[in-house]
Subunit: 396 residues, 2 copies
Amino acid sequence: MRDVAIIGVGMIPFGRRDQDSLIDMLAYASMKALDDAHLGDKAVDAVYVANMGGGILQHQTGIASALVDRLSLLPAAADLVENGPASGASAIKNGVQAIASGYSDVVLVAGGEKMREVTGWRATDFVATLTHPESEYPYGITLPGMAGMFTRLYMEQHGLTAEALVAVAIKNQEMGALNPYAHVEMMITKEGIFDSPHSVVNNPLVADPLRLYDACPVSDGAAAVLMCPLEMARELTEKQPVVVAGFGQATDTHTLQERDDPTDLKAVRLAAQQAFDRAKLKPSDVDVAELHDAFTVLEIAESEHVGFFGKGEGSKAALAGLTRFGGKIPINVSGGLKARGHPVGATGVAQVVEITWQLRHELPKERQVKNAKVGLTVNFGGFGNNVLAFVLRRAS
Amino acid sequence: MRDVAIIGVGMIPFGRRDQDSLIDMLAYASMKALDDAHLGDKAVDAVYVANMGGGILQHQTGIASALVDRLSLLPAAADLVENGPASGASAIKNGVQAIASGYSDVVLVAGGEKMREVTGWRATDFVATLTHPESEYPYGITLPGMAGMFTRLYMEQHGLTAEALVAVAIKNQEMGALNPYAHVEMMITKEGIFDSPHSVVNNPLVADPLRLYDACPVSDGAAAVLMCPLEMARELTEKQPVVVAGFGQATDTHTLQERDDPTDLKAVRLAAQQAFDRAKLKPSDVDVAELHDAFTVLEIAESEHVGFFGKGEGSKAALAGLTRFGGKIPINVSGGLKARGHPVGATGVAQVVEITWQLRHELPKERQVKNAKVGLTVNFGGFGNNVLAFVLRRAS
């Protein structure tokens, strides 16, 4: 099994990109990753596209074939990988295995989604296509609905507080304002939004107890990573290589109500544990993490399930500022899904791009975690029914 | 790099399966493959689903997560792979790499499609979503349209004859009639269909010069394979292992008109060559082949491009019966896409299932290729823009 290194990364600003097609966005992010690595004439052997909604939103299939042609990377192999909102991490995993197996040397993974073509309930409905087709979708449950019920239970059983959710929202929008790739660049304050007399209008309930500012926006966007065997990284590029030290993937029951304890995100626990075991590292080794905060509650719950904090301690940690930039374990310094945005197929790739920048020490001072050596990503599919984690390490 | 063996296969009869959901079909085929291998309590590490149209036809995503739960294989990793009509082979390739890399031991790949929910132009439109979204789809080109133009050019330049197309259609429907999994079980004769005074009605033009009996039907169906490292196969199962001796994948220009020579199926040539090179075998070593005959012309063209016959010799070979059961190189003994049917996500998996049966010598005498040791599959995505080939070998 060959070790795999990330040698190029690229992203386009997330947000509303009416002028770009899905393929445009994937191509722009890919070209940035290729340019970042500056490979010269070394060929790309395989391309993976991560995308969830090309069929539903763009009435398109065969997108990987279109991209490899657009990028003039023929005759490279090209496949699309879909795993709901964890499509990005799934595509990277398959790219890692392509290299680790010895079948491919240079692999490009591009994740993208064009979601702003639909608005309102149609966007929520699109994401809800990942719910169980027989026992969930026909009854009208959506992801915000699931997250609301999960939050209520977490509050009752694990000391989650509304204040902690507010702290996560404020922190991530504050960091998003520093990230030129973020969809939401607006800083918010407790006084301005949550305690405002207008908060019932400005921050309406989405799914009790979750409010508007607990949820990520609906975004267009794309991100890409270029990988090769670690042993080839130094000769192929001058960039500081980042090693995929370990990955993990685990599934859980498709429906939330079938879980013995619906507040136990078993797939997050297993995926993170597997990634740490393979990396021979532990949660306390992590310098910076990107967790899947499609809703503020998920950042707190995941921070407990990956092992940063004990169960019930995540809220206190968020309130105490331990997860802020400069804190003990900075989470979502990018702004997370909450502020960077969540173009679903792009998210898992964008998380790895952000951690790569952090581990290369390339970010501006105001959001570069000092001397970061180890990073963690968690990409959460379904409502925790299919989760992937990566432990990334700065190559020595 | 570990060698990979197929240790279990399963398929459900293709055709019209109104009573089954997409997940039902994937689950039935998977259970057959699991039962075939009779693994005992050995866990499945990863599940791959091959599917093209879940989003467009069923308004579903996250199908791999639903399947792994339905099969009680939690917490196995689960991803969906899409590569148009070559999704099946792409999913198997990623399963092979998961095992070869050492990250997974036992991998299940299930391919399925539920296409009969749409009929007429909607079915053709669904498949056309794989054409180029800017330079093809908006202008109304469909796959039959491309195949028609390709056929005309092949006739003009490479000695393809209408008689050879008829021979392929008759051969494949004859073999399909012997295959209990085939959608089309009707044997046809030259007199009954092609030379009949009613042929203009019974066998109407679809895309000049291709007629109805040149095209595969629109089918529902699913197929599954179970794989593990070759070194573990003998201890895990009593079944005769079949080795994935080599695979190849290559892309070509997304649009047909950009190719220097549109009759040169470069991706077929490259994918087959790569598969043979990796297997250290050559076309003349192949005892039985499953080629992607979505249209009769493709079987003939592919039989030349993979190296069975020289360019322009495929027609003669078909007319001389060399590709019939009992001939020099039997092609599509299953009935092929033409008669077994072409539920797009299932096809690449079904081809590997058929070859596995052949190499295990498990088929009834009337369609078992005697003493078959080496098989080839070609799964053709787009109009040859993304093609995969597998060389399979009976383990000694």
